[in-house]
């Protein structure tokens, strides 16, 4: 009964996004979409596998830097640039994931944070990333040599297509047998082991998939903003994606999208008004979410909906 309703919701949102650039500043919507993709990728780990990666920004940053570098310095075509950024994030995800899954629970979070910090320091020192200055003035290029992406409208539809495609991939992953095993790992790892599954392999595949999609988000973001800086790879960005997922609702398909929308609009709304107090507000939202609002916006909403629907059935 509820499934078609959710699908109608997706359809409505998709139509709204198709026409959004005629009403809203497209760059802001594209930013939200990139971060929504980043948060969805992160949620695949935290919400569905129960792994809290506290260094996910490093994949966003890697995607951004590699795509930016090959587009700007090596003059690669846009499609190859996106692919290069995404695949670099996969490779890094494989390396970091293989190390991090050797520890469980809270240690996993600390290991990912520390490894991400290590890569961050490498980014600071490396010439590949432009160090403190970052990469500026990255060309967007053309799509298949036909569509000129310098135009915000054309780029918008490319970004939309990428995000919808990635969202569909995540949706399919979650509802596949593979996704069921991930959820089982989240609920009771020991039992999944005793059922004969190689849990480490499942965790690693989930980690690499999540890192890949985070890299794709970073690569796409570079096209939108035409620059890549250390901010993308900083642990603050890792914290932000945790916050988006927590606020929207962990383990819900749509929560991270809502969370990303709320946080990005809040930041762009507040940045000029309160300056560095934004960090305080973000921290405050964290505290409130953990203390009183653990299911997040989407989680609470669907719980409320089910309660109302449930009581209607009884009467």
């Amino acid at each position: 009964m509820t499934m078609p309703k959710i699908h109608f919701g997706y359809l409505g949102l998709f139509v709204a996004l198709l026409f959004a650039p005629f009403f809203v500043y497209p760059v802001l919507v594209m930013k939200v979409m990139c971060f929504a993709l980043f948060a969805c990728a992160f949620n695949l780990l935290l919400g569905y596998t129960g792994l809290l990666s506290f260094g996910h920004a490093v994949f966003l940053g890697t995607g951004a830097y590699v795509t930016g570098h090959v587009l700007k310095e090596w003059g690669w075509p846009t499609e190859l640039g996106l692919l290069a950024g995404t695949l670099s994030a996969s490779v890094l995800g494989l390396l970091i994931g293989a190390l991090a899954i050797r520890r469980q629970g809270i240690y996993f979070a600390m290991v990912t944070l520390a490894l991400a910090q290590m890569v961050y320091f490498l980014f600071v020192q490396s010439t590949f990333t432009g160090g403190e200055d970052g990469l500026q003035g990255i060309p967007r290029g053309t799509l298949l040599g036909v569509v000129d992406l310098a135009d915000d409208q054309s780029l918008y539809y490319l970004v939309l297509a990428i995000c919808v495609g990635a969202f569909w991939l995540i949706h399919r992953t979650i509802h596949s047998p593979f996704g069921q095993i991930l959820k089982a790992v989240r609920e009771n790892e020991a039992r999944v082991v005793s059922l004969g599954f190689d849990v480490a392999k499942y965790k690693l595949v989930a980690f690499v998939l999540s890192a890949t999609l985070a890299g794709l988000a970073g690569a796409t973001k570079v096209l939108v903003f035409k620059f890549a800086t250390l901010t993308d790879a900083h642990w603050h960005a890792s914290g932000e994606v945790v916050l988006m997922t927590l606020l929207g609702g962990m383990g819900t398909a749509f929560g991270p999208v809502v969370g990303a929308g709320v946080i990005i609009s809040l930041q762009s709304e507040l940045a000029d008004k309160v300056g560095s107090l934004v960090t305080v507000i973000m921290g405050g939202i964290f505290v409130v979410c953990v203390l009183a609002f653990r299911r997040g916006i989407v989680g609470e909403a669907s719980a409320l909906y089910q309660r109302i629907a449930g009581t209607k059935d009884i009467h």
Binding site: L52, Q104, V242, V278, T279, G283, G284, C289
Partner: protein, 295 residues
């Protein structure tokens, strides 16, 4: 002999001493994290923020009210400890039944709030805090000049760490603490007030971080960012050592500081990352950590 491997012995000893100073902070902070984790099952992400707040309280005390370094050494840890107790009573105590991750997320939020607030009021650049008169200058040891303040930091943190170890491992209070860590419900059934101990443990843990902050204030510039930069390295230290053993935390912290100092002499580019590299090696060889038990 004035050179070792082509490095002047003066420079080598100087960096070794700096490494020991850094290591003292790693030791104090990872010790606090370990004690808190043992009792509360929470990784205190706000630990770095508490350390930073400690340094700032010392600076504020001196600048606004003329409270000197020596009084700060006592008053600041107490203040930070009280702040910790308030945080534990109002927020953390609701999380003990939940997944460990929520504790990490809540304290991360707190860290952002504290850091953001100090950055809002004092900016990101460092504020100077001068070394107290009694500890300025250096002692000539013949082969090197030993700055008095650095020696003082190492001695104080060693004494505090060893005292903490002694209290936890060798006294009756420590026995209660260890019992409550092992099995809180059974310990409470024996008539020991476990919630009170949990509260005081958190207060004590963050007070240690606050004391670290006061010690750090004259050694480094007082800046809102000093805590978050440190806490990530301390997390790596904790992963390397494992949180199972008090003495393990102390030894791991000190030795990683020394390793970092030596790296600065021999290959300065890697000095930022060497602790993380050690962590990678330990994860590959001994995933549970040097002093950890695999659970």
């Amino acid at each position: 002999m004035t050179e070792i491997f082509g490095i002047p012995i003066q420079a080598l000893m100087g960096q070794l001493m700096l490494g020991l100073v850094n290591g003292s902070f790693y030791a104090m902070l990872s010790l606090g994290l370990a004690v808190i984790f043992g009792m509360l099952n929470i990784i205190n992400f706000a630990h770095g923020a508490m350390y930073m707040a400690g340094a700032f309280f010392a600076w504020m005390g001196l600048t606004y009210w003329g409270i000197g370094y020596w009084w700060s050494l006592i008053l600041v840890p107490l203040t930070v400890g009280v702040v910790g107790v308030i945080i534990e009573r109002t927020m953390l105590q609701w999380l003990y039944q939940l997944d460990h991750l929520y504790g990490l997320l809540l304290t991360f939020g707190l860290a952002l709030m504290i850091e953001g607030a100090f950055r809002y009021f004092y900016g990101s650049s460092g504020l100077p805090y001068s070394i107290p008169e009694e500890l300025t200058g250096a002692i000539n040891l013949g082969f090197m000049f030993l700055p008095k303040y650095r020696a003082w930091v190492v001695v104080v943190s060693l004494v505090v760490c060893l005292a903490t170890w002694f209290v936890i491992e060798k006294t009756k209070l420590g026995a209660y603490l260890r019992a409550a860590t092992e099995n809180p419900r059974l310990t409470q059934a024996f008539g020991i007030n476990v919630p009170l101990m949990v509260m005081l443990t958190y207060g004590f843990g963050v007070a240690l971080a606050g004391l670290g902050g006061v010690l750090a204030a004259p050694a480094y510039a007082v800046s809102p960012l000093m805590g978050s930069n440190l806490i990530i390295v301390v997390f790596a230290v904790v992963v390397i050592g494992g949180m199972g053993s008090i003495m393990g935390s102390i030894l791991t912290g000190l030795s990683l500081g020394v390793i970092e100092g030596l790296t600065k002499v021999f290959y300065a580019e890697a000095s930022n990352t060497v602790v993380f590299v050690v962590m990678v090696i330990v994860l590959m060889i001994r995933p549970a950590g040097l002093f950890g038990k695999e659970k």
